[in-house]
Point group: C4
Chain length 384, copies 4
């Protein structure tokens, strides 16, 4: 027998929630959907709709940036992928679309071994600026020191530094890592950083002087980080925590740094819930990958997929049966919420009496069981 | 590194429950089912059974109102749909029933573009009154000012003003919205308003002078509001919250305003749980859409389905293998609770020792895992 | 706007648990399985194994009672069913086994319309006593006054009065109901009553002088009470609550009245958990219905199934690929826990260091997610 | 009516969590994956990677021990199985692999009836030592007194005494059981004991002088203990509780006894979570059973499976489409986390800013809903 007098210390776990776990409660006041304001700002740039397209090769190319600009949103061009590695990316994208499921991971690993070309980085920025669109470019932390000046010089407007997980403090013995506070001073462009999911990590990032934070680790449809690494926080909880960091930072500094929920948003309901949880904008991938205009040609994959030794994510066949305009504004005959996202957001804001995005942050939410069981009932009882 | 001295404020979420999440605990006293009283009142009208039929085109037409009146319940006629738009609604209903799944949403969007005719509104009311039935008419908030006087003049007994979400305060810059307190003074008919799901929204509505509140946003079988908009509260929680508002209002004013759980009720068990959660009556749609007498001809759809730009809900094939009388009173050989709702309610009240609906509100309930897993066992272990 | 000063009173719901929601934690001490004592007592009768067979027509006939007696357990003969209605019940059971799924509910409704014959009640009791077995007979509350004296006179040992839900106080205006305290005085046999699921209902029943309580409403495999009526409490919570009532009653009176978890037990794991939750014995139906010796001939149905107006439950095809001895004692090559229940109980008691059933009541349990997801993994990743 | 004055005592249940119920939260600091240290120690032995292979006949034979040694991990040879019962175990393993699903449980029951031969025990140890590998041998408690000296004499390095459930105190009237404190004094080899799942059981075991504790009851892919016996604790909770015991023991004695999470680990994500929960190493079975090198020849089964009277577990077909090196170090084109476990662990440690395993114990975790629902979305909405 042993003495057990020491008080044991057990690790404590906090409950977290994803889109399917919550629902928005209608407000005590309602408002006409056509009278709500959905504006969103990054630095000095204002967007009519708080929608960004993910910096993924299957989602955004130069044409998509231009198209989305005209519709009031912001497409972020990934310059860590095929657009910066190949003079003719369409040829490569065609090849990926035609690969079989069995071959595609190996093909992607090979495609992304091709080095990034500095001149292509400048060319892509100029093509966007020439069309008159706001130009947001995504780089990885490892490439930022080298490529950010090229982006700025070519006329880039917003820099997005994006990694699977980002922190203000990165430890490395072999090289001097990217220091965001230094980068913010060196660059004139507002810098958006991500992804992060926790209160303290988000708050630390904001203190480096950045202009926006992408929220979300592990939730995307093309992402299997939680299976492979066990890492990830469901998006409602991640958004609530980072929104709290933004509000704390605002209280301390009077600077309002927007957060952008990024990943896992598939339906209008998900998007409305992200805003009720506190986000300022959403970054969507797979819904745009499904449009005719998307560079993925009906396929969608993530940037962790081609990792040479530890691939995460899958290439998902998503089809091309819709258009960017329908996805954002409808009209639609699709009843499951995969089209008319802006209409859905306006309607939900109306139900919550929210005149603008900041008021939508105050909407009540409940933890609610998923709807799936109700649907099953019909399969069981249908008599015909 | 940043200072993190400010106390972070995280959004708080309350747990909520639907029918499948709870179960009724039998009482310490039991009572004979044939000795319980199931009466229900709206204003001066008393109903032998606390069952209302949903104001949906697939559920209620003039004949259904008359049929249900004879059985002791109340059918609410929807005068925002085909009954008020077409002189011969049966022709249109036939067309909807024959449409393919692929075409039906577009067809519904077209069918509901036809304007509402004032003369048809009066005609439907008169047809019901001529048959000697209590006449309850449902209108949307947008049409109420124009059509409510026509309903009253034609002899309507009860007015139901129904929208996806209803609040006592609606904000609109472009027009002067419907003010329930004014409407209640103008009309002689008792006014039932819905739908709402929260304590404060329900309490505010009661203070406008209305005669009943419909409870439920997002739960119906033909409704996809939660997928499209993220909005909705599971019915047990919605009913508990609105029942608390009714009891608060009664304490303050000594007026007892009934609440009616509306949507998502598919089986006898759901109905019994709604009463244990505190409702005074239930409004059912899909179980009645399944009867031979239903105007839907074996199909069921919701009023948000035909929305021109943001359709929500699906047309569900429900068949016509039962009758209204069987659904309400049996006898039945169906063992899954889709028939003999009144018998089920009486039996459950007996198990809880509840002599009337108000006593049934005091029945204990537990949060209980769904039954599905137990059923699966047989599929796995069946050896024959 | 309304005043909302009154404190709202929301209905509170307690969490409840079923077999699949919990798991037993091994103890700090272990014991050899062959050294545990599984004895169980009702009144003066002692049983080597704490297993009773359900009073259901598909589970127990006279032969099953005798067979189970030899193995150390107790079969309860249902004298509200075919055994008391037909001189030759096997003929009827054969007919039920041969009926199609579509016809069986109507057939059962007809079969159970045949009246109960007093002489058959006596005959069945005598047949059991002639074979030297302990004779436990189950009656419904409605028939108890008339038939209990016949059972006692014919030599019955234990009387089980069983209904879907049983309380010590039953309200009826039309007739004077069964009063358990009076019945206990009139009869010499110990009386077991059920079913009940809550602390206060169980405690009240014990105060009437009864000798045992059956625990469980709604959980059985052949039962759909929760779907039809919404009534039912998962068995782990029901057992924990009634065990607390038993312990309270013991503290107050020094009389130990056993409780028997009845229904929903399908695997060895369920049975072990019931004992860890506090039961003194288990009553099993479907596992015995699956034996070659069962009167159900490979089919299983509940006593609520033939209700003339509100049938609940289904006839389940369970097969006859095992024997009573294998189910109770093995040996077995079945790996999913559907055979060798006594071996499983002894092993689990060994893991918990429980030398007898009362020590097993002290075993720790955790709320644990079901195992199903782990099994799914192989279907997904199997490469061959 | 009864008096209910005594305060009822209800059994309390603690919530528990498995791998699928939690997720790791990225840290506020990140670190380069190639700069983390994954070392692990048992007694004086240090291993480059904290991976042990399960002492199961389908996972480890002499060759696997040698192979795994070269890669930096530790294979534990089961000397309660075919390796100690048959001079030519490959012949038997071949037979098991060729048996049909219907016959395999009976075959296994027969195969494991063959007695253990003392000379084979010594031979296996010598074969491992001859190859220069660290030799860890697993015995059951019943065989330990007889076989442990043979293992030690033949040159064994580490002794693993393993049972389904292990406690420091075992009660038996028929024989004097194994006393770990005595065994630890008699043997020079460090002794690893398991399996256990609770704080007090683990702490008591540590006080006997052992060198490591295996954590896990009931979670393995080839294990059905929870179905058959109801016994088992999900691995995250078991690991958290035993880690707390290890920390308490360290505080009391300044001796650091490692714990090893054993069972249920299928993907990289599971492994990373086990370390975040507090484990010092993991013992994996089915992922290694899937390699070309595994003795199971594409099949996997547990040691409780062949129990003569109460078999638990199933033989699972796992295939042989990978290699030990790929499972541990990649590179891989498999995207679901079943290969490159060390790479996954290093990456997750990088995300959490953990420079070594002990720092990884401090990583935050959240309770998170499983990912499955997100995957289902595509099946539903795919339009092509």
């Amino acid at each position: 027998m042993c003495s057990t007098k020491a008080t044991p210390k057990f690790k404590q776990l906090k409950q977290s929630y994803g889109f399917d776990d919550v629902a928005i409660v209608p407000g005590d006041v309602t408002i006409n959907p056509d009278q709500v304001d959905t504006e969103f700002q990054i630095g000095k740039f204002t967007f009519a709709i708080p929608f960004m397209a993910s910096a993924m090769d299957s989602v955004v190319d130069v044409n998509m940036v231009i198209h989305l600009h005209k519709l009031g949103g912001l497409g972020v061009l990934n310059l860590d992928g095929v657009q910066a590695r190949y003079a003719n990316p369409d040829e490569i994208l065609e090849k990926i679309a035609k690969a079989s499921d069995a071959d595609v991971t190996a093909l992607l690993q090979q495609v992304y071994r091709e080095p990034i070309k500095d001149n292509l980085v400048g060319d892509r920025v100029k093509a966007i600026k020439k069309a008159g669109a706001i130009c947001a470019i995504s780089l990885t932390p490892a490439n930022t020191k080298r490529l950010a000046p090229i982006v700025q010089e070519a006329g880039g407007d917003i820099l997005v530094v994006q990694s699977t997980v980002t922190s203000a403090r990165h430890i490395s013995k072999s090289y001097r890592g990217l220091i965001f506070s230094e980068l913010c001073k060196q660059m004139k462009m507002p810098i958006v950083v991500g992804n992060c999911v926790s209160y303290t990590a988000c708050l630390e990032l904001m203190h480096t002087g950045i202009a926006g934070v992408l929220v979300g680790v592990g939730p995307g449809a093309a992402c299997t980080s939680r299976e492979v690494l066990g890492v990830g926080v469901p998006q409602i909880t991640a958004t609530i925590d980072c929104a709290a960091a933004r509000d704390t930072y605002y209280k301390e500094t009077k600077k309002y740094i927007p957060i952008i929920t990024d990943g896992g948003l598939r339906k209008g309901g998900d998007i409305c819930k992200a805003f009720a949880a506190g986000t300022d904008a959403v970054m969507i991938g797979s819904p745009i990958a499904q449009t005719k205009e998307a560079p993925g040609r009906g396929y969608h994959w993530g940037m962790s997929h081609p990792h040479p030794a530890l691939p995460r994510g899958t290439r998902v066949k998503v089809g091309t049966n819709t258009t960017l305009e329908k996805v954002l504004f409808g009209p639609t005959s699709v009843v499951h919420g995969t089209e008319n996202f802006v209409g859905a957001l306006r309607t939900a804001m109306g139900f919550c009496g929210a005149a603008n995005i900041k008021e939508m942050h105050n909407a009540d939410m409940v933890i609610a069981p998923a709807l799936s069981t109700e649907g099953k009932f019909y399969q069981m009882t249908q008599k015909v």
